[in-house]
Amino acid sequence: MAKKGKLEFRADRCKGCELCVTACPMHILKLDDVVVNRKGYHPISVIDADKCIGCASCAMMCPDGIINVYVEE
Amino acid sequence: MSTKKIFVAGFGGQGVLLIGQMLSYAAMYEGKEVTWMPSYGPEMRGGTANCTVCISDKPITSPLVTTCDVLVAMNGPSLDKFEDMLVPGGHLFVNASVINYKPKRTDVSVHYVDCTKIAEQDVGNAKTANMVMLGAIIRSSGVVELSIMDKVLAKTMTGKKEKLIPANKQALLAWNE
């Protein structure tokens, strides 16, 4: 059974570059269409959190270090 | 003693700078003030070389000279170029091994030193030619005492060079007027 992952964003620091979007094997990341963060960017968000496998590929590609990744034990 | 100015000139490899340095060591060990100033430039070997030594009881002002009390000409071009610097009554040392003509000056004491021949034949070591000249300078001009040279040789020729001291001492005494 696939691991269950959980993502934590520091969305106020997100610059909306979408490098994490390209990295995600489950295609569950997307810029938030509605929210604009204090830097003026649409920050990253998860569209289907249940599908996250905790692979940390998104965090690996995030230049600004805004993503922490956890898995259920 | 007023400042004595010695000018040594020749071409590189003749020991011109060393003659000046040995005089400087001698003056220092006699407790005098001294400066040694070389010409310097890109020609390391075979080009012209000269140095100035000033010896005095007082602190020495300029280490450069426009006139000198002692001129040592180790080759012809140096003699031609610098003999006018010598003060009247000064000492002119001519390296007779390579200079086969007389200087123009008649108002100075001229000493002909065939250093290479003396070094080869009397000392038996061609490399001591400059020491033959140094001995001539010291004994004829009196800018430093000959007796101090034992200390100079002991201080400057150490290690591998120590074994050369006897030949050098012999060379200092080899020339006779």
Partner: protein, 358 residues
């Protein structure tokens, strides 16, 4: 007292630095100072120090920047065009406030110039050729012994002021030999002592303090202005406390010469010659070129009619002399340039010509 040794200027400068606790030398050969890197390559390893023959003067000054930031006592030496190459980093090292001793064995310029002695780096060393507001302290010895003593002092001043200090010598001092005495040697800081004695240096923060970022870029100009204004008082302190000079025979002198470094020795000889002709002359010899010894000029008396700057440059120091005398006396110039030297008789002749001008 230690025994007198006959030493060539350049070797004595290097020995004096090691004696003062310098253990790091980075250099690039250039006439007339190449005996310094040669000496350092032989001697530093004997005392546990490091020598690098750098790829260029740019490399050398920046190795020095790194070593000084890391807490080492460093010597940098070069001659005029090499110092010009280093200017960018000299200004930078001033901006980040690190101690460093720099020796300029000056030769004739501008450009690649000549390899004979010169003093035309006066502006380069006292004004600096880098960008921004900064000063470097400049000492100008006129004998090998004085250079040795000044090098020792320069390290202490550099540490106290956290600023580069330049020793402005010239090819004559570098190439000549004189009997000298070395002062008592000083031990360098050990790697363990550096954080306590020089807490601003880079040693790794060991989680005992915040990380240091030694840095001269300021993207907020307000902060940079505050920073400059905060360190600037040290230069005002230097102007009060550091000027040094030698005065001779100012009392009753009709002519006062101002001259520094090896040229001042030529002037001393010219003064003797002038005295033989009944002409009374005096000398002010700046030992520090920055800060310039302005106070020395207060000693000049009513008998003085002429002040003459004697230098191997086109009146670079004369400008400081004019500022110091504030228009009270006419200031003239006796000089040679491009690596040509003055001789005492030329100084005598030109002095007499200047005295004819009413």
């Amino acid at each position: 007292m230690a025994e007198k040794k006959l030493m060539k200027g350049n070797e004595a400068f290097a020995a004096a630095a090691i004696n003062a606790g310098c253990r790091y030398y980075f250099g690039y050969p250039i006439t007339p100072q190449s005996e310094i890197p040669e000496y350092m390559s032989r001697e530093l390893k004997k005392v546990g120090g490091s020598f690098i023959q750098a790829e260029s003067e740019l490399g050398a000054i920046n190795m020095a920047y790194g070593a000084a930031a890391a807490g080492g006592r460093v010597l940098i030496t070069s001659s005029s065009p090499g110092i010009a190459l280093m200017q960018e980093s000299i200004g930078l090292i001033c901006s980040v406030q690190l101690p460093l001793v720099i020796m300029d064995v000056m030769r004739g310029g501008p450009g690649i110039g000549s390899i004979q002695p010169g003093q035309a780096d006066y502006n380069q060393v006292t004004r600096g050729g880098s960008n921004g507001d900064y000063h470097t302290m400049v000492y100008a010895p006129n004998s090998i012994q004085e250079a040795i003593d000044m090098i020792g002092k320069a390290y202490d001043v550099a540490d106290e002021y956290r600023n580069p200090v330049i020793i402005a010598a010239d090819g004559m001092l570098g190439q000549m030999m004189e009997p000298v005495v070395m002062p008592e040697p000083k031990a360098p800081l050990t790697e363990e002592e550096i954080p306590a004695v020089k807490p601003y240096c880079l040693t790794g923060h060991k989680f005992k303090r915040d990380r240091h970022a030694i840095n001269s870029v300021w993207l907020k100009q307000e902060l940079l202005e505050d920073y400059i204004n905060a360190f600037w008082p040290k230069y005002e302190k230097a102007e009060r406390e550091l000027p040094e000079w030698e005065s001779r025979d100012l009392d009753g002198a009709e002519v006062v010469f101002v001259s520094y470094g090896s040229t001042s020795r030529v002037v001393l000889e010219a003064m003797d010659l002038l005295a033989q002709e009944g002409i009374k002359t005096g000398l002010i010899r700046p030992k520090t070129l920055w800060p310039f010894p302005v106070k020395a000029f207060e000693e000049i008396g009513a008998a003085t009619k002429h002040i003459i700057s004697v230098e191997l440059s086109q009146g670079q120091m004369m400008m400081d002399v004019k500022l110091a005398v504030e228009g009270k006396w006419p200031v003239s110039l006796i000089n040679r340039v491009g690596g040509m030297l003055l001789d005492p008789y030329e100084v005598v002749d030109r002095t007499k010509k200047i005295m004819e001008v009413k």
